[in-house]
Structures are given as structure tokens and as C-alpha cells.
């Protein structure tokens, strides 16, 4: 078994601790919280695309599904926010399992189109079912997460909560990255027929991975709901799926660091350059194309290769 990448975990922990203790500007803390949320989503997509070879461009839909389930349950039915998160995850798991089981038997091509379609459909449902979701104008009046005495209402306490969640998530991902399971998934990516001859059922494993990642994304979506207190379908459109795809790919497919690096990089750039927003999608598309064409390992993969060559 390979060693865990402790350097990366420690660096992330230090950065989060620094932001949590030293930065007092509420706006920056808010940006950091959002970056963490993007990073979790991008990492989930990275596990799908980089490890297992499942291309999904409907991740935003699962994110939105989780957000809406949590919002509706906590606001309309008075369910404890903490309890809504696993429910949201379970709902997304069920949807992903149902949709995934026919599609994942097929090749990557079909999958991309089908997940795109599913994303569009869920987006349409969010817009059309206004009696539940509030339609295009959004869903308001979402409460806070309350853990014991702590009410996570202000930016800072929420950041602490999100950081803890993120570090736990990162640690589990690192464990996964060094586990046998990850070899199995990469095996599926490289050759499905070889897998079959070794007694692995690719379709079954792929469906489980797809559904688990959908559940994770939905869980994250529920957290997002209680952070922003306001959700509307715009946040979960096709554009966000593409952003996630760009984050995972540019950061580096098949590396746990990749999703995080990509999310931080692509998340920070629009904050730094306001003129960027207008050409956002062109730049994302262009970067995506260039990285896939010339640097298949993304930033993480390229750095790792350079380090190895010089060492």
C-alpha cells in the first residue's frame, strides 16, 4: 500500500486554519467557503471521470437536487437541517441509480449525452414545479444549521463547519486514492473486457460509483443551501456542470489534488478579474480543450511528472 499524501493534507489544513483565524474580512471568508464547496463537487466529478472513466455532465443537477430536497424539507416540513442532508443524499442516490443502471451499461458517448439530458430535465423540473421549488424566482426563507448550542448563521462559524467537513472528506479521498478500490476503478477505466475476465462486473461497479458520487454531490448541495439561504435554478444550470468539468480536468484527472487545485484556481480567477466574467465560458472551454489536447494529467499530473523527472 502506498503512503498517504500527507504533505497535501497538512498544507490544506494550514491554509484553512490560517483563513479561519487570521482573515477577518467576511467577504473573503465567504469566497473561501464557496471554493471549498466547489472543491468537493469537482473532486466527486474527478473520481467519476478521472478514476472510473464515467463522463457526467449532469453533476449540477444532483447538486441542485440535494439543495432543493434539503430546502423544502427543512422549510416546509420543519425537519432538522442536519437530518435533511442524508435524506438529500439518499434521494440523489436513488435517482442516480435509476438513471444510471440502464445508461452505464453503454459506452462513454451515450453516457455524456444521457447525463446532459438528465441535467436539462432536472433543470426544467426545478423551473416548472413552482408550487414546490418556487420556480425561476427561487426558494427563500431557508434556516440555519444548528449543532447543539452553535447556530451557524455568520460567515465565520459556517466556514469552520465547512472546513471540518472538507478535511474529513479530503482524508477519506486520500485513503480511497491509496486503496484497492481505486485500482479497481482505474482498471475499469483502462479496459472493461479485461475487468470482466478478472471477475469484476464493470456495469455494477460503475452504477455504484455514479450513485455514490451523486449522493455526495447532493449532500454538498444541502450544505450549500444552508450557506446561501437562497437557491434558484440558475445556480444548478448546465453552466455549472461545465464549470465542474473544467475544474476537474484542468486540475488534473485521476489525482485527488486535481479537483481541489482546479476548483481553487477557476474559482478565484473570476473573483480577481471582474472583466473576466463576460468571457468566462469561452475561457473555460478553451482551457478545457487545451488541457485535454496537450496535458492529459492537468496541472497536478504535469507537476508530478516534472517533480519525478528532476528527482
Amino acid at each position: 500500500m502506498k503512503r498517504l499524501n500527507f504533505t497535501f493534507i497538512i498544507i490544506m489544513a494550514c491554509v484553512l486554519a490560517y483563513i479561519g483565524t487570521q482573515v477577518s474580512n467576511e467577504y473573503y471568508i465567504g469566497v473561501a467557503t464557496l471554493l471549498l464547496i466547489h472543491a468537493v463537487n469537482a473532486t466527486a466529478l474527478n473520481i467519476l471521470l478521472g478514476y472510473t472513466g464515467i463522463i457526467s455532465i449532469g453533476q449540477a443537477a444532483f447538486f441542485g437536487l440535494g439543495a432543493y430536497v434539503a430546502a423544502v424539507l427543512s422549510t416546509n416540513y420543519g425537519v432538522n437541517p442536519l437530518l435533511t442532508m442524508p435524506i438529500a443524499a439518499a434521494a440523489a442516490f436513488a435517482v442516480a441509480y435509476l438513471v444510471g443502471s440502464p445508461i452505464l451499461k453503454l459506452h462513454g458517448n451515450y453516457l455524456a449525452m444521457a447525463t446532459l439530458g438528465m441535467g436539462m430535465i432536472l433543470y426544467i423540473f426545478m423551473n416548472e414545479m413552482d408550487f414546490i421549488t418556487g420556480g425561476p424566482s427561487g426558494f427563500v426563507g431557508i434556516g440555519d444549521i444548528i449543532i447543539g448550542k452553535f447556530d451557524l448563521a455568520d460567515e465565520k462559524s459556517f466556514f469552520v463547519f465547512m472546513s471540518i467537513f472538507f478535511m474529513v472528506f479530503l482524508f477519506i479521498c486520500e485513503l480511497f486514492d491509496k486503496s484497492f478500490l481505486h485500482n479497481k476503478l482505474k482498471f475499469i477505466k483502462n479496459s472493461e473486457s479485461a475487468c470482466r475476465s478478472y471477475g469484476i462486473t464493470p456495469a455494477k461497479t460503475k452504477v455504484m460509483v455514479f450513485a455514490s458520487m451523486a449522493a455526495l454531490t447532493a449532500f454538498n448541495g444541502a450544505i450549500f443551501t444552508f450557506y446561501t439561504h437562497f437557491i434558484s435554478p440558475v445556480s444548478f444550470s448546465f453552466k455549472y456542470s461545465v464549470e465542474l468539468l473544467a475544474m476537474a480536468t484542468i486540475g488534473g484527472l485521476g489525482y485527488i489534488t486535481g479537483g481541489v487545485v482546479g476548483a481553487v484556481l477557476l474559482g478565484l480567477v473570476p473573483e480577481l478579474f471582474s472583466a473576466f466574467e463576460e468571457y468566462e465560458m469561452i475561457i473555460y472551454g478553451g482551457l478545457l480543450a487545451v488541457v485535454i489536447m496537450f496535458l492529459p494529467g492537468g496541472i497536478s499530473g504535469t507537476l508530478k511528472r516534472l517533480v519525478k523527472r528532476n528527482a
Binding site: 462513454g108 458517448n109 449525452m113 436539462m120 468539468l245 469561452i282 485535454i292 489536447m293
Partner: protein, 287 residues
């Protein structure tokens, strides 16, 4: 009956898009995500030439198609040919990236509004048994069938068409017989984008043209291609028409906001029951 007529109209457009998917799938094994974007491009180009610069229609049409043809060639050369690692996932992601770029470049050039293209022929409603059908719809149906027939003719009779069909069957064998597979690839991208361009041109007077039309029409074209079965040209047209009719009948039962969801349910249903498509050959799906 009215539903049947409107279904036929939209269905023949889906059929045209599905044909484009088919051509590229046959030569490269790829689903081209930017197919819908080429439909949008066709509409945009005809708007620019015909309505903005007021070039006569019979000059504007060939120019538009030539434009789509050339962009199709560039698309293959830049995105597909240059990619260093040509795995299936990489190429699919590349076509997604290309479609995003095309969509947003179109947004910057033509803006976010729906653009109205003038009618090519005078609009008259023709009384048919059980309903009316406008002359535009008749034009769309006629042109689609004509294009499908023309394509069939091109593939069966012409030298290039025969080369393309040879590549569909077996690329290695075709290469050994002296057919340049590279040129056939370029050709298939160019032909399919020109066909998408035709679809864009004929549909834009009815639905208008917006920069983000491409996603939906691409998705529906794909649904049509799946419904008919990838790898079979007439099946693609039939799949498109079936999908169109199905969609317009479903619009009479459920609220129209959900109409776009139908295409997706069709994809899922077909993949679930019969992944080869209704009229597909076994080769097409490669499960």
C-alpha cells in the same frame, strides 16, 4: 391530426440532426456534441447574410452552407486531429469543450436575443384532412426528405460516398485499398455540419434563432438517432419523425413546460429496452 402535422415538421428537423450524428459516429465512433451548435450556426449565418446584408436568398444559402462546411473542416482539424491522446473520453470531452466555445463566441457576435429570419416563401395555410399545415412546414418536410435522399444517393453512387461507406465498414481494410481515412474523417465532419446548417436555415423562420438553441436541438437529434439506431441512415430519419410526432402528441396531454423532457425519457426508455434502437444493426451500440 393537427398534432401529426406539427410533429412531422419538428420531427424532420430532428431527423436531419440525427443524420449528422450518424455520419460522424460511423466514421469516428464519436458522438459529436457540437452538432446542435452547427444548427444554430446555420441559422445565425443565414440571418447575417440574408437579413442583415440583404444578399439574395439563392446566393446566401450556398454561402451559409459553405461557411458551415468550412467550420466543420476546421473543427475536425483543430479539435479532433490535434488531440494527443485520442481516447474516447478525451475526444467526447473535447467536443463538449468545442460546443461551449462555439456557443459563447456566437453569443458575443450575435447577442443574447432571439433573431427573426424573414420567410423564404410566402406563408399560406394549406387545408389538409383534419387540420391545417403551413407552407413553411411543407418546405421543411420536403427539404429534409430531399436531403436524406440526396445523402443516400451521394453515399451509394459517388466515388467519395463509396469511400465513406468503405470506412464505415472497416477502416483498416479501407486504408489498405488506398482510401485516405484521414480525408474521409474530415469529409464526414464537413458533410454533417453542412447538413446541420441546412437544418438551421430551414427552421429559423419558424422558431427564430438564439445562441443557446444548440443544446436542446442537439439533445433531441441525439434522442432521434438513438431511437432509430445509430449506424443506419433511414432509421435516423424515421427516428426523428417518430420522436417529433411523439413529442407533439405528448404536448397535448402534459403541460407544455415539460415538453422538452420527453426527448430525454425517450432516450432512457430506448436505452433500457432496446439499446440498438428500433431499426438498428447490432454493430451500432458496441455494448
Amino acid at each position: 391530426m393537427q398534432f401529426l402535422y406539427s410533429g412531422l415538421t419538428s420531427g424532420s428537423i430532428y431527423g436531419l440532426v440525427a443524420l449528422g450524428f450518424n455520419i460522424i459516429y460511423n466514421t469516428t465512433g464519436l458522438i459529436n456534441f457540437a452538432q446542435g451548435e452547427f444548427v444554430m450556426l446555420g441559422g445565425m449565418l443565414i440571418y447575417t447574410l440574408f437579413c442583415m446584408f440583404e444578399i439574395p436568398f439563392y446566393t446566401a444559402l450556398p454561402l451559409t452552407l459553405a461557411g458551415c462546411f468550412i467550420i466543420g473542416v476546421l473543427y475536425e482539424r483543430v479539435f479532433i486531429h490535434l488531440a494527443r491522446y485520442k481516447t474516447e473520453i478525451n475526444l467526447v470531452t473535447l467536443t463538449i469543450a468545442a460546443s461551449i466555445i462555439m456557443r459563447d463566441v456566437a453569443m458575443h457576435i450575435w447577442g443574447r436575443d432571439s433573431l427573426r429570419v424573414d420567410d423564404y416563401i410566402p406563408v399560406v395555410n394549406v387545408q389538409m384532412p383534419g387540420g391545417v399545415i403551413s407552407s413553411q412546414s411543407i418546405l421543411i418536410i420536403a427539404v429534409s426528405l430531399l436531403v436524406a435522399w440526396g445523402l443516400n444517393f451521394f453515399l451509394k453512387k459517388s466515388k467519395y460516398g463509396k469511400a465513406m461507406r468503405a470506412c464505415f465498414d472497416d477502416q483498416t481494410a479501407a486504408e489498405t485499398c488506398g482510401i485516405s481515412v484521414r480525408n474521409v474523417r474530415i469529409m464526414s465532419f464537413a458533410v454533417s455540419s453542412a447538413m446541420a446548417g441546412i437544418a438551421g436555415v430551414i427552421i429559423s423562420p419558424i422558431t427564430f434563432v438564439t445562441y443557446d438553441d444548440g443544446i436542446m436541438i442537439g439533445l433531441k437529434g441525439f434522442a432521434a438517432a438513438i431511437l432509430g439506431g445509430l449506424g443506419n441512415f433511414w432509421a435516423a430519419v424515421a427516428g426523428g419523425i417518430l420522436l417529433g410526432i411523439f413529442e407533439s402528441f405528448s404536448a397535448s396531454v402534459i403541460p407544455s413546460g415539460y415538453k422538452d423532457a420527453m426527448a430525454f425519457f425517450v432516450i432512457l426508455l430506448i436505452l433500457f429496452i432496446k439499446p440498438d434502437g428500433l431499426f438498428g444493426r447490432k454493430k451500432a451500440t458496441r455494448v
